[in-house]
């Protein structure tokens, strides 16, 4: 055995992998932030622990700097570790998305964490770790690095979901999320092992080549592709793999729910897109119909069930399931040569706008829940009459989620439809019509909340105004400006969607 290892080493001389610390700077800064939070937690006195949130926030913004600098650099691709870790424009755009939405989550959490007698240091540590995992998954171009990053972002998230230790619902949230998440990982890992068996390489680009060069693909490939898509299907809570989402969303602390519904969902999409575009481009005949069905089911089931919810967080949970269906829509035609670019753009644009809108919505939910101490939709009654600003903001975010111009959500839906129709196929047209009908159904529940805000009486007669804490107000401000700006000057979001090209994708 030892001999075999020795001879192997002798055969393949050790070559130092190519590493560009410049391109890795965002990850390095974030890692430093993770360590800093952990150390500071050890040495800070209890009443100074509020500084931890500041450290967490600044390390996210600090990691944003190199992302911007790399984005402005003329060199557009840094390939490291033999193509297993690639920094390209696509990964930079989504890294920026993860870091900024992470920053908003920090702003949303700070009050919550301070008030709740939580283990503060560990909260920030886990949050940053999970974001680091997301940043890594956007560059991972190898089955193993994809899987490692995927676990890296998931495991802290399981713990965050169960953060309210003595709360039964929070425990349920964590356990459900963990069990189904692990199950998904296992399915995915099995799919990956099949793919490795078929392609004899873990490098995604090699996988893609093995499918194209061999001319067609084996049933082994097909099975592997399906399993991998199913694995990510859990992460993006696509129906029928969504069952964990409502309970987890309801039980987890609100800022963590915001994080899960935006950050880790986006990470799931990013990984899925990477796999589809880099590893399985030629297998589109397998995954296109599969994703078509997933997308149609996800938006329809998510919507219909959301209609019946009376708890606002559960409603938003189902709404985010159905939004996931809309994000999947363009991928159902991504294999057509004419629409692959626009599908990628649609996914990225949707993720960006959805992040801004949904985080803002959670900001409003957190602010309102601070006063009403209730998660019921009916507790929002008459919000406009005593907290007009929050009422209007809530309306803006809900309308944006519903896709009503001139708010951000409409352009997200628009580019998704555009991509579908550009394919010129009946698959595309039919899914577009299903999506159109669904966007109407969705207004049923978004409009219901608006109705509470504007048209109903205050349920308990308590009309004391709501005070919004500074950091929460900042989060609301950022998300509102983004939601409005994306809708009125959509070029901003579309620009990021446009430059986000995956290296090794069929486009270039």
């Amino acid at each position: 055995m030892l001999n075999a290892v020795h001879s192997l080493v002798a055969m393949v001389p050790w070559v130092s992998p190519s590493v560009s610390y410049y391109a890795l700077a965002p990850e390095l800064v974030l890692s430093a932030g993770v360590v800093a939070v952990l150390l500071a937690d050890l040495f800070l006195a209890d009443r100074q622990k509020w500084m931890l949130s500041a450290i967490a926030g600044f390390s996210l913004l600090g990691a944003m700097l190199p992302v911007i600098i790399l984005g402005l650099n003329d060199q557009s691709v840094w390939s490291m570790f033999g193509g297993r870790y690639v920094v390209d424009n696509f990964s930079l755009v989504v890294k920026g998305l993860f870091l900024l939405s992470g920053y908003i989550v920090v702003l949303l959490s700070s009050v919550h964490v301070e008030e709740g007698d939580y283990w503060r240091g560990e909260f920030w540590f886990l949050l940053l770790s999970s974001i680091l995992g997301m940043v890594m998954i956007s560059s991972a171009r190898d089955l193993i690095s994809v899987f490692v990053a995927y676990e890296f972002l998931s495991i802290p998230a399981y713990m965050l979901a169960a953060w309210r230790k003595r709360d039964l619902k929070s425990n349920e949230a964590g356990v459900k999320y963990f069990l189904l998440g692990v199950f998904a990982s296992a399915v995915m890992l099995y799919g990956m092992s099949l793919l490795y068996g078929a392609a004899n390489s873990t490098l995604l680009v090699d996988l893609g080549r093995s499918v194209t060069v061999a001319g067609g693909f084996s049933s082994l490939h097909a099975l592997g592709v399906v399993f991998v898509v199913v694995g990510f299907g859990f992460k993006i809570s696509a129906v029928p793999f969504h069952t964990w989402a409502p309970d987890t969303y309801e039980g987890a602390p609100a800022p963590v729910t915001a994080f899960l519904s935006v950050g880790s969902k986006a990470a799931g999409f990013v990984a899925l897109v990477t796999m589809l575009y880099v590893a399985f481009p030629a297998a589109f005949s397998v995954w296109q119909p599969f994703i078509w069905v997933l997308s149609a089911l996800t938006m329809t089931v998510g919507n219909v069930v959301a209609l019946r919810q009376t708890n606002i967080v559960r409603m938003i949970a189902y709404s985010s399931i159905s939004q996931g269906g809309f994000i999947l829509m363009p991928l159902a035609v991504a294999g057509h040569a004419g629409s692959s670019d626009s599908a990628l753009r649609a996914v990225v644009v949707y993720l960006i706008i959805y992040a801004a809108t949904n985080l803002g919505m959670f900001g409003v939910i957190i602010a309102v829940a601070n006063k009403t101490r209730s998660g019921e939709v009916s507790s929002w009654g008459g919000l406009f009459s005593y907290a007009p600003a929050l009422g209007v903001l809530g309306t803006i975010f809900l309308a944006s989620l519903a896709g009503i111009p001139p708010l951000g959500g409409w352009i997200a839906k628009f580019v998704a439809f555009q991509s579908l129709i550009s394919s010129g196929s009946n698959w595309g047209y039919s899914l577009a019509v299903i999506g159109a009908v669904n966007s109407v159904i969705a207004f049923g529940y978004y409009g219901n909340v608006m109705r509470e805000i504007w048209m109903r009486e205050v349920p308990d007669g308590d009309v004391s105004p709501i005070r919004t804490h500074g950091s929460l107000a900042l989060a609301l401000g950022i998300t509102t400006v983004a939601t409005l700006a994306f809708g009125i000057i959509p070029g901003v979001a579309l620009h990021f969607g446009d430059i986000a090209r995956i290296t090794g994708a069929f486009g270039g």
Partner: protein, 518 residues
């Protein structure tokens, strides 16, 4: 198409001025109601001012061409531009929206419906105004769509917050119907875009190239647009949201809804669906015509069955918009001219009727026809205005309604080449019967409401009622006169001098119908 690009700032200013007013209103504290009303009034007066300037600068010799054209990048990635312009079809509707908004703002001076909050109320009205004006000047499908949708939420809140007892149901119904239509419409817009080579969303470009789309594809795309516009018009059988929305909306909401929002649908047919997809339009025309005459008769019968005055007026809208759609479905310049004229006339007249209904409701606290009566003896001015508006609505020659209705019926005698004459002549006869019904329900309404003596419960003029309410019925107030006079004058002027409008509309209609040989 040749464009006139002089003074390209005019339309943008006219469209977005209300938004400036909204921003100003946001800065005014909620308690300062006087200032809020002043800001809203100043904004809408300034908007009408820009509108009047547009009227004067408009080149009527070239009414068929787009004027004041402005074009600049907006969403270049998806090839959509900020592209606006105005021609003889858009101009009357664009200006009408401004006048109606001003009238509504004046009317609201002392008449903010419960639960009050003038700040939010005026903000919604001004946002509505931007959406309406923008829809009439947009020359890019995506821009059109955004403006078209912009009116939805304000109207939803206006009905839902300031409306009657069933307001929440009515507002949701209104919203879901319209949104369903516009979702399919958006898909249709995208399909047109890709089928013409994915070059541009600009309407003139698509008009030029849309005809080359294969016939069966056109028919499908037209179906998507049809649903979007027909819901808005509303055409039978998509009309069921309208009686609820109209009846529950506050007076101001009903007026805006009837006078302008319904026109967005018919305008969409004239500006977008028919010129871009002429082949499909020809295939669809008989069906549109059929639905139009069904709407005429159905609306009229609905009117005869109503016991509530406001609901009656709402149903009469279904009938009147049926005439407009009949005119459009003939695809002749005669018919489309009549349709555009009908849009303006219906906007003025039905807007006026809703104002009257609102004022009567303020005074009697009911619009139950069986409880009303003797309006002419109790409030003679209001009674005569109601008579005037009813006569105009039933299409009395000499008032504006006539010129929308009569030519529309006449145009069905000889529809465009390729359409079955016999079918359209049948439509013509049915529509003519519809006018008889119209006379019946309007005269009957007027007779029941205005003639005779006031009913016992309202007869105690000038005394206190059982519950302490004031029964002093004040005739038309100064504020009401101010708000209504422009509409009343316009109804008369456009009735006597139809050519004022026709000479503006006609050249533009020729352009729209050039695919049908004029």
């Amino acid at each position: 198409m040749e464009m006139l690009r002089d003074e390209n700032w005019v339309l943008s200013v006219g469209t977005f001025l209300p938004i400036i007013g909204v921003i100003a209103l946001l800065l005014v504290p909620r308690a300062d109601e006087k200032l809020i009303k002043l800001v809203a009034l100043a904004t809408s007066v300034a908007t009408v001012g820009v509108g009047v300037y547009t009227l004067f600068q408009f080149n009527y010799q070239q009414a068929g061409k787009m004027q004041f054209v402005a074009e600049t990048n907006w969403i270049s990635v998806i090839k959509s531009t900020y592209y606006i312009g105005i021609d003889g079809i858009s101009l009357p509707l664009y200006f009408l929206s401004m006048v109606i908004t001003l009238a509504v703002v004046i009317y609201s001076w002392n008449n903010i419906p419960a639960p009050g909050n003038p700040k939010a109320f005026f903000i919604l009205i001004l946002v509505l105004q931007t959406g309406m004006a923008g829809t009439f000047v947009a020359q890019d499908l995506i821009l059109f769509f955004v403006f078209f949708e912009l009116v939805l939420l304000p109207m939803y809140f206006m009905i839902g917050v300031w409306g009657g007892e069933q307001r929440q149901y009515a507002s949701m119904k209104f919203f879901l119907y319209t949104m369903f239509g516009s979702a399919l419409m958006l898909v249709a817009f995208l399909a047109v875009f890709f089928k013409t080579g994915a070059e541009s969303f600009s309407i003139p470009y698509l008009v030029e190239h849309g005809g080359s789309i294969a016939k069966n594809v056109q028919i499908w795309i037209f179906a998507g647009m049809f649903v979007g516009f027909a819901v808005k018009v509303p055409m039978f059988p998509f009309h069921t949201w309208l009686p609820d929305a109209h009846t529950q909306a506050p007076t101001q909401g009903s007026v805006i809804l009837a006078a302008i929002l319904l026109k967005l649908g018919t305008y969409g047919f004239v500006r977008i669906a028919i010129p871009i997809l002429p082949t499909a339009a020809r295939e669809w025309a008989p069906y549109i015509g059929a639905l139009a005459v069904v709407g005429i008769i159905y609306g009229a019968l609905g009117c005869l069955a109503q016991t509530d005055m406001k609901r009656l007026i709402a149903f009469s809208s279904v009938a009147h918009m049926g005439f407009v759609m009949l005119g459009i479905s003939t695809l002749t310049s005669f018919g489309v001219n009549a349709a555009v004229y009908g849009m303006v006339a219906h906007g003025l007249i039905t807007g006026m009727l809703f104002f009257i209904a609102g004022s009567m409701k303020d005074r009697y606290h009911t619009l139950e026809i069986s409880r009303l009566g003797g309006l002419l003896t109790q409030m003679p001015h209001l009674g005569w205005i109601l008579g005037f508006a009813s006569m105009a609505s039933l299409g009395l020659p000499g008032l504006a309604g006539f010129w929308g209705e009569f030519p529309a019926i006449l145009s069905a005698y000889s529809p465009a080449a390729g359409l079955n004459e016999n079918v359209f002549r049948v439509y013509m006869v049915i529509a003519a019967v519809g006018t008889v019904f119209a006379a019946a329900y309007l005269l009957w309404l007027f007779q029941r409401v205005a003639f005779g003596e006031p009913k016992a419960e309202f007869a105690d003029h000038g005394t206190q009622g059982d519950h302490g309410e004031d029964h002093t019925y004040q005739d038309v107030t100064t504020i009401e006169w101010l708000a209504w006079t422009p509409l009343l004058v316009a109804i008369l002027v456009f009735g006597v001098l139809p050519n004022l409008l026709f000479k503006m509309i006609d050249p533009a209609v020729q352009g729209v119908l050039h695919a049908f040989g004029g």
